[in-house]
Symmetry: C2
Subunit: 115 residues, 2 copies
C-alpha cells in the first residue's frame, strides 16, 4: 500500500496548491479541508491527492486529475466554491496555484527487509 | 515578501517530490536537505522551491525550473546525485517524482489590514 500518489497511467494534470494559513479558525479550516478531500475523491477524473503542512505554517497540496474537464467540474462544485471563498475570507494569508501537465513520473519503494 | 513560490513569468517546469521518511538519520537528512536547497538556488534556471512535511511523515517539495536543460544539469550535479543515493539507501521509505509543465498559475495575498 503506497502512501504517496502516482505514478498514474495515461494523461494526468497536477494542481499544486501552496499556502500559508492565517491563525484564524483552525477547527473550521480542518473540518472543511477534510471534507473537501472526501468530496474530491468522489469526483469523476480524480486520481489522487497528497497534502502536507509543516510547523512553519506552509502547506502544499497536490491533486491529480485525468483531464481539464474533471478539474473544471470540481471547480464548479458548489461546496468547493464556498470553501474557496472561505479560504480567501479568513483561512489563508496567501496561496499560489499552479496547474500543470504531468510529463513523466517515477517512484521508489524500499524493499521489505528480511525478518 | 511572498512565502510561496510563483507565479513565474515565462515557461516553467515544476518537479513534485512526494516522500515518506524512514525513522533513520534525522540529523544527516536535515543537513543534506538544507544543503540541497542552498545548492539548487545557485543553479542556472532555478526559479523557486517550496517544501512541507507534516506530522504524519509525508513530505512534499516542489521545485520550479526554467527548462529541461536546467533540470538535467541539476540532476547531474555530483552532490545532488550523492544525496539521491543516500535517500534510496536510508532516508526514504518511498517517494514519487512527477515532472510537470506549468500551464497556468495564480496567487492570492491577503490585503494588509488597516491599523
Amino acid at each position: 500500500m503506497s502512501l504517496v500518489s502516482g505514478p498514474f497511467d495515461g494523461p494526468c494534470i497536477a494542481v499544486i496548491f501552496t499556502s500559508v494559513r492565517t491563525r484564524t479558525d483552525a477547527e473550521g479550516y480542518g473540518e472543511t479541508a477534510d471534507h473537501m478531500v472526501r468530496l474530491a475523491r468522489r469526483q469523476p477524473g480524480f486520481l489522487g491527492v497528497d497534502s502536507a503542512r509543516g510547523p512553519d505554517g506552509l502547506g502544499i497540496t497536490v491533486a491529480y486529475w485525468r483531464d481539464e474537464e474533471s478539474i473544471a467540474a470540481w471547480r464548479e462544485h458548489a461546496q468547493h466554491a464556498a470553501a474557496r471563498q472561505a479560504g480567501r475570507d479568513r483561512w489563508y494569508e496567501e496561496f499560489a496555484v499552479h496547474v500543470t501537465r504531468v510529463d513523466r513520473s517515477y517512484a521508489f519503494h524500499r524493499p521489505s527487509q528480511a525478518p
